[in-house]
Amino acid sequence: MSRDLSPKSLLGVAGAVATAVACFLPWSLYAGFPGKMLNTGFPGGARMYVLLLALAAVAVLLLDPPGRVRGMRGAAVWALVISLLTALLIGYAGGGLGKVAAGAWIAVAGSAALTASAYLLDSSSDRDRRVWSLPDADWRMPAEIVITLAMAGLALYVFVVGLGIPTSNVASGPDHTFRDAISLNDVTNGSEFLAFLFGIIGLFLVAGRIGLTASLGAITQRRRPALVTGATLAAIAFPFTQDGSPYALRIAASIGVFAAAAVGLNVVVGLAGLLDLGYIAFFGVGAYFAAIYSGSATSPIHVHLPFFLVIVLGALVAAVFGFVLGAPTLRLRGDYLAIVTLGFGEIFRISVNNLDGQSGPSLTNGPNGISNIPDLGLPGGFSFGDNHHLFGVPLPFQANYFFLEIVLVAAVMVAFLRLSDSRIGRAWVAIREDELAAAATGINTTRLKLLAFGLGATLAGAAGTVDAHVVKVAAPDSFTFIESTLLLAAVILGGMGTVPGALLGASVVYLLPEQLRFLHDLRLLVFGLVLILMMRLRPEGLVPSKRRQREFHERDDRSGALDPPPGAHA
């Protein structure tokens, strides 16, 4: 506990208390505002996130962990942003600032005081963050397991909340002037989601700056079986939280396919360090293979193969493409390889676009693609197209595909983890770090690079076969250059070479544009901006591999020793 009772910190405490109290008061006098902003006593809607941020800020201020002032700033600024934005939007949607209740203004003033306090305090006295660990006692292991399971539960909770926030119930206010243009109405509709997003960013900043993220990461890494169990349980539990609504399940299933492909790409890029800009083509090979042999009426080949055979064959065909492309081109260095893979991706897209019987042999039904892919079935008569009831919870048929996704992602993850821990995986990392040195230690670099390329293609092909059945269509538009780069963005945003990173990155890259739909045409603009900002704030990714983290840390230490301290001379 700090004994810092300076006016500056007292200002912060007062601000936090005012903000926290305000979160239990109504913010809006206008009933149409999204989120539950009217009642007294329960902090609904955006208030919840402001409350959490204010509590986090004051806790950091009083408990004095390492990185105290910087952590406090992270929380305080975002609390202010959320409360101010919400207050103004209530005024807009309600038709005048008179509709903004006193609670909102108290929260704005309180979080402003908190922010002022955080910036008045001197951040240079912050102690360096460190990794916390539990005391070495008998209860340490069970406690760590509980923490790990709780983290999985928390992740599920955040995911469900984030996906469940409605962003399109139209509030009153001026009508759209023209179609697809954004208006403040849309921002109002999305305000609860924005509050959620900003809240997560703020809490993430605090946790990162005081070293909590690193500590929890270390604990979950130590308890890997618990992590795997927790994550699996959380994933299985997800459909039961949706109360029969198919919307989130459909998105989650697509995220699953995307994540599986991202993990596969992680083998190529994250482990072996080969920049592949046409990875989606291998995914497409799998998807088209599955579509053509699905028995769909739009497929020119009326052969219906059983799905398990399709997964295996689709993966194999993709692997063949991988080896055929890789064999002659893998001796190219770095970015030359990138452009060749890009070229291959484009050739694939153009080919499937043209193989319609007119510009080429009839195989893919051209630009329309192969659609109406029938539902999967299991030998016991189980159809993936049926809705079910389980434990009294209605499960729409999309849940079946979601469970299939879990199996796919789990399989790909196991493959990735076994590979990365193996002799092969270590050789890949050696090649990634320094190809010459790796060759000098007796690693057959060409063969291993080809293996990485081929295995990555195999995983993508398998994911593609599942994808065709999830989205029920295989069309050229789904396999463009931008899709490849988005997959790459998922891998790099999440953190190269780690599985949780790829999963998190895939969720962000897929979910964000989806939930930003209330921005209409501006959503991609915002998405581009988010990519730039995230790379600037965390170039090593959200969940960097331990090895990479260490690299960064070592560099920090070294520069600290050699460079003059900041501000020593102009």
Partner: protein
Amino acid sequence: MQLFMQQLVNGVVLGATYGLVALGYTMVYGIVQLINFAHGEIFMLGGFGALFTYTVLLPSGTPVVLALILMLLGGMAVSVTAAVIMERFAYRPLRGAPRLAPLITALGVSIFLQELVRNFYPAKSPRPFPQLIPPDYLINLGGGVTINAPKLVTVIAAVVGMVALSTFVRRSRTGRAMQATAQDPDTARLMGIDTDRIIVTAFVLGASLAAVSGLSNGLQFGTVDPRMGALTGVKAFTAAVLGGIGNISGAVLGGFLLGIVEVMATQYAPSPLSGGAWANAWGFVVLILVLVFRPNGLLGERVAARA
């Protein structure tokens, strides 16, 4: 034969656009080893800057030559401003970051610029571009082969751009500093070269040439579109790699080769692989073939791996 020669001319014209944009890729890559995927968007911005100058800033009845010069300057101003801001706020903070991080930034910048123009440029798509140089003014090259005036301007611009740029890089003080920075940034700094300034210079030069290309592209096709940078960008990067990335003459040569291959394949490839639908694929096939036999591109030198 006449058809062949005509297609050759068409290919050269197409290649000139690729080559001009490729110069920007090759220069930036040569110095900071960054694939600046947003460079296609800089090309697009050049076209829009020129259009904006014409429709908003110029009074009607401006003499054509003066209008063209001012449009070029307007396009360059927009392209260069965007490139400098992009370098300063998106790429520079990432020096020393993992190698792939700037690539994602480039992707973000590319999406951002494209959407910015799409959403905020007044007037909806497709945006007509003034036909200041009449496209029906045909110049006879002999043997029945013709080229129209805007296309001829494009080719001349590409050649002039390449010659001017390579002279600048070889002769001027700044140009030699660029070469030094490309070879070894640390040593260049020790020799008193302000490498940050040199990197900005590379972006500025690349953006200027992209603006030239953006203007001539508008004059040729009569429209500009916010999405036109994406494909041109990929093609131009392909051209730069084809010629040997980092090599200025290589970029233009690669551009011409790519353009000619695409046009010729459209005409002469065996059916059903001919026609416009397959043209883009043929360009990449040639790229892959060239790189298999010359891994460093056509004019790229075989560099020893640096330890």
